[in-house]
Symmetry: C2
Subunit: 210 residues, 2 copies
């Protein structure tokens, strides 16, 4: 019990430091220090930093594993899609150090790469399923091939948006960049929507950036 | 004269090795060796690896600095757009080591980051200008805000496509991935095109992946 709580505290402290400074600049010593814990106590829970990173990637996978809901009517289906993308981007923001450093981490650790690929695969199928649902209720007009291409673009923009922003900006990505990211992702889908569905998404997306 | 030729040979050899193995895994010694040149001779031309990387970034900037052409009729404007994106993606492929390692390089060297930002800014304005041209000849239906959002998405997908592919795949990105990347980028623009213009782009884009 006590052990579980300590593990949780270590993971939360590591996540905060990784997000703030970048994983490469944070040692297990820094994590222990930020908790007022001895390095020995930390090592009792995690043998090294890679184990902490792996555990955080597992937490991201659990956090991001949403099953897409598809309402039987167009306004409901649009809101489901919006919520799905919103929650996905929030999870990416929460674990942003993983996304900042994706290529590096994937090159370093095959299991992290596999886990990332499972997450991406699941998101891809989620977006495809939601778009098929929208097509079924006549809120979207797109061929099956267009839906697959669209889902790949949703994944690329969602995955790399924060990197792109921090590359383009002068400072690290801010939470406001996430709102703009959501707007960018929604805008990929918007032109395939028809009639009221499109206006509905535009409204939701606009609220997001204001 | 001789000096210029030797510099050019060093840059070409460095580019090939960086693309093949990743910049982090190639030393100036490796570059000299691949040319059968003494390290001292290489150092006479470039003081260190960072200077070679900076020079390659300059070469990319020169290579990618295309002025967008906008034909006065819809089929011409579509072909201009297609060619513009095609040449841009080819330049990214040619200097792919820079794109594989963008965050790292930008964090390491402020001038590289500024140069990348100049390239991105120029591309952004190029895509906006071409879309405005398409709207003028009635081949595209999009508001000015939609065009700006679209241009940002074109940049994100073009910039990160190869990274995404190599993360998702089991091997380093192949030249064929570039064709698929071009298809992904074109598909961002396609839904904003109307009538014949859209069919024309679909045809060009399909040729690309077949």
């Amino acid at each position: 019990m006590r052990t579980q709580r300590t593990r949780g505290r270590i993971l939360a402290a590591a996540l905060a430091l990784f997000n703030e400074r970048g994983e490469g600049k944070v040692s297990t010593g820094n994590i222990a220090q930020s908790l007022g814990m001895s390095p020995g106590n930390l090592y009792y829970h995690f043998r090294n930093k890679d184990e902490i990173v792996a555990e955080l990637m597992r937490a991201l996978e659990a956090r991001i594993a949403l099953d897409p809901d598809v309402a039987p009517d167009a306004p409901g289906a649009i809101e489901d899609l919006w919520l799905y993308l919103h929650l996905t981007l929030e999870a990416i923001w929460e674990f942003r150090f993983l996304y900042r450093n994706l290529d590096d981490l994937a090159a370093r650790d095959r299991r992290l790469r596999e886990r990332f690929n499972r997450i991406a695969q699941r998101k891809y199928h989620g977006v495809v399923a939601m778009c098929e649902g929208l097509a079924r209720v006549k809120a979207m007009r797109a061929t099956p091939e267009e839906i697959r291409t669209l889902a790949r673009n949703v994944l690329v923009v969602a995955t790399y948006w924060l990197n792109f922003r921090s590359l383009r900006g002068r400072a690290a990505a801010q939470e406001a960049d996430l709102g703009l990211g959501a707007h960018q992702v929604m805008s990929l889908i918007a032109p395939y929507l028809v009639g009221d569905a499109r206006r509905h998404l535009d409204r939701l997306s606009r609220n997001y950036i204001e």
